[in-house]
Symmetry: C2
């Protein structure tokens, strides 16, 4: 939290010449599938990711760098399963297997599973629903590519081929990774992916890097492993590339008690807790720093599709939705994955914020070398995510909506969160005293970050920063509203003189309660700081700090 | 694999006076629930396990021993989530939360989920099915205790209160743990529980103990952590208590290069790969050794409910099913958990072999201290298991079947596996030459273990043990049948002179293929060992080795 030091000029990077890639389109996915023929993947089938990526489509690209020098002892000594070697003989015609201990689907007490979902085209009106169903033997009976007998049995560490295909295609449509040997493997959620990623690359005594305010669970996953998180300064555009370069360039192993870090954990879009979104140029600058210092980037993107139209002031009408899928995709800030010529990004995707957290299905995209390390760990720990979840997601996202319908859903969700954000920001304009609090309207995600000018506190001279933060927190609670202290998100802690923040979310609170909760927050600030000010009276300014 | 050394007389143990506990009954569960009133547990609600266990029911029992001296650095330094502390304020009346980033169920695109399951009472005949459904707001609407809005959102590390209640009750009905502060927490499967259990108790350089032939995934999970597995001799009754005591008593740290182990990983029932089941007396003897050497026992029991009637010879009729739930429970060999006066057992339960592996839902039962360590790790890694899985399981096991129906289902599954085992054993009697192969009929699970008298191989004098094992394996494969080499299950490897085994499973292969697969195995043995013998001709002996 010290003021930023003078920085180096950033190195030249070949990302500077990037334009948006020629993305795979929904139409070309359909053609690719038709050319490949029907996917027939039985219980625990090996998935051919190259088939899902399209043969020869990526052959002109360079391969990812090798990361052998970065893997932990645990990860680099992990061997493939010995028993899986025996599976090769199952390909022999007429082979009878008395080998593997997978149960028979005959003994699964589930004949059919169904889910009622809205139809694409009616997400805003909620006028049409369909019930989509999977039977036990739909695959064998030619009814579907996926069924209960397959999904509810054991699987591979990367999940079922049927749903992995959809994930690989979706990833290519959105990000079109610019190197050849990218791959995807399912996770049981991004929190697990952080845990497994840390075990893949770090050892006790190491440091990793993140935003100076970050997702506490990542810090709490790392701490018991003896891995510390070094915070990098942020501004309204999120993580600062210059600050990242400065931390790495001036890393003093003797002061830090640990080697120069090479893992950057970042939430580029709608960052938790600051709500900031890194613009495209910032991402290119940070990628260049990552190249300079040979970093691996954990790109954690649960809020990626919750990118919003700009906030245009109190009571402004909603912006028009994107005119097409292409316009929607064009409106998204490109990901690190889409910039990743080196294969140094491990991107974490999640359904938690756009479908449902309870699916416990997510995925990572990274170079085949990293994905292989991940998958082999999954094979002896989490295994595949729930087959029940995979089947419900497949029926909805692949069979019922398809890629086009899913983009429609994402546009719908994005508009809903934008409306929620606007309710919160309007309430801030009306109720939160700008003499004390300042903020930037979030451009993505579900979090809003207030900066508090606590130098204006009446007892600033005699109270510590922590005391004032605590006083405000409890004053807000006493008035019946709960926001989070900024210091809870600070992995290295905060000290006197550091800036003070509070985090609010507009994720799930009913709209009327958002307004009232913000009003209570504003009133608490007025009371704590001894300000005059009528309840419910606008501050009179529409400008943003 | 050396011959067993002379052993100590086992110490006196207070488990020797045990009788089967007074088990909680299905009827008393219903009374307990009625007395507690309706369970109202919303999104990510804190579960009150003491309520599910029954207040004051366990107060007369001793508390578990403390395991502070056994936890790894990682586990003992893991702190609870800082943000979760803020949740206490949500109890304030009228509190508006702008705190937690949980999404609104409004944005889950699932209105209803349904599953078609057989009705209790018709499991054998498959004559009656019901479709059970969950709506989005069944909890708020008073229709059910669990719904999509709750199950599909974020949860606690131990899973949802609604399904955890069922798990706790089931555990008490079956095992009635004899100490006060036992608890349960859900897992994303027992393989993950092994991974997390190892991280809880071990460090690089440590050894753990298991059967000399064991589940390879456990070994493969441990190896990259630098944790080695010391095999303990087995006999037809599984792990030998005397051999366990001998290994521990004579443990030489300088020879082994690691401290005396204190984790015993065991599969007491239908062990993989040997198919052996430890009788009650064996379990009591092993528990006494665990007390003597202060061990923690990982009791991994996926096959616990697949305990079978004795095999009574070729073409014998099926035994009558148990006359009642009580008779069924009485027929089960008591678990380590039911003997566990000290709270030294971490029992791993799984739905994989009795419901469906794809649920990726299991649970551990252990002392509250161990469960708390597990749960806190889950909070920053796997989180809760899939809410989609939990909801389908809850609708089936709790609401539709209830505890009584689930016991009926387990009796049904047990009879099905018994029939499969009998088909395999009948085929062995008919086709496998007893001059070369010997076996004990498995009393549980899904595995059968052949011992091969390879001293009778024509080139025994000139070929190594490994060469002969490989020759047999490939001869069987060449004849169109796949069995697993015993040496693949041996964590310390096998050397010349060690016994030779092959594993067959009757889990899922169609019955006709089981017969043919065993016939091919027998023919391959005859060919490799140069035996005469007509295909399909019985060996003429019904006796078992």
């Amino acid at each position: 939290m010290a003021p930023p030091a003078a920085i180096d000029v950033l190195p030249e990077s070949d990302t500077s010449t990037f334009t948006l890639p020629d993305r795979l389109t929904i139409q070309s996915v359909a053609k690719r599938r038709a050319a490949e023929g029907r996917l027939v993947a039985g219980v625990a089938a090996i998935a051919d990711v190259d088939r899902f990526k399209g043969r020869n489509v990526h052959a002109h690209k360079s391969k990812a760098k090798r990361w052998d020098h970065r893997f932990s002892l645990e990860s680099s000594t992990r061997l493939p399963s010995s028993l899986k070697g025996a599976a090769q003989y199952l390909k022999n015609p007429g082979m009878i297997s008395l080998g593997g201990g997978l149960p028979s689907s005959e003994y699964f007490p589930f004949e059919q599973v169904s889910v009622k979902v809205p139809d694409a085209g009616s997400f805003d009106t909620k006028s049409n629903y369909s019930t989509v169903s999977a039977g036990k033997h739909d695959l064998a009976e030619g009814i579907s590519d996926f069924d209960i007998a397959t999904a509810f049995n054991y699987g591979q560490g990367y999940g079922a081929a049927q749903f992995l295909r959809w994930i690989v295609e979706h990833t290519e449509i959105i990000h079109s990774p610019p190197y050849q040997d990218w791959s995807c493997t399912m996770t049981v959620g991004s929190t697990s992916a952080i845990d497994m990623g840390l075990r893949m690359f770090t050892k006790r005594g190491d440091w990793i890097l993140s935003e100076e305010f970050t997702f506490p669970t990542a810090v709490e996953a790392a701490a018991p492993m003896g891995v510390r998180v070094a915070g990098v300064s942020v501004d309204a555009d999120g993580l600062r590339a210059d600050a990242l370069d400065e931390v790495l360039t001036n890393w003093d192993e003797s002061v830090r008690g640990g080697a120069k870090p090479f893992i950057l954990y970042t939430v580029p879009t709608g960052q938790n807790p600051t709500g900031s979104t890194q613009p495209f140029q910032r991402r290119k600058d940070i990628y260049a720093v990552a190249q300079k210092h040979d970093l691996i980037i954990f790109e954690d993107e649960p809020y990626y599709f919750l990118q919003m139209d700009p906030y245009t002031g109190l009571d402004s009408p909603a912006a028009a939705p994107p005119a097409s899928h292409a316009a929607f995709l064009q409106s998204l800030v490109p990901s690190y994955l889409s910039l990743d010529v080196d294969g140094r990004v491990m991107r974490l995707d999640s359904f938690s914020k756009v479908i449902a957290p309870g699916s416990r299905v997510g995925w990572i995209t990274a170079s085949e070398q990293i994905v292989e390390r991940y998958r082999q760990h999954a094979d002896v720990s989490t295994q595949s995510p729930s087959g029940m979840s995979q089947l419900l997601l497949f029926k909805t996202l692949d069979e019922h909506w398809g890629h086009a319908g899913y983009l429609d859903w994402l546009m719908h969700i994005r508009a809903e969160y934008t409306a929620r954000r606007n309710v919160l920001l309007d309430a801030c304009e009306r109720h939160v005293p700008r003499a004390i609090a300042s903020w930037s309207p979030p451009a993505a995600g579900m979090f809003h970050w207030f900066r508090i000018d606590y130098a204006r506190h009446p007892q600033f001279a005699s109270k510590s920063r922590a005391q004032i933060e605590d006083e405000i927190f409890h004053a807000v609670v006493a008035r019946g509203s709960l926001l989070m202290k900024g210091s809870w998100f600070c992995p290295e802690g905060q000290k006197d003189g550091d800036a003070m923040f509070f985090r609010a979310t507009y994720a799930a609170t009913p709209l009327g309660d958002i307004k009232e909760g913000v009003r209570r927050f504003g009133q608490a600030l007025r009371d704590v700081f001894g300000l005059e000010g009528a309840n419910g009276h606008p501050n009179g300014s529409n400008g943003h700090s």
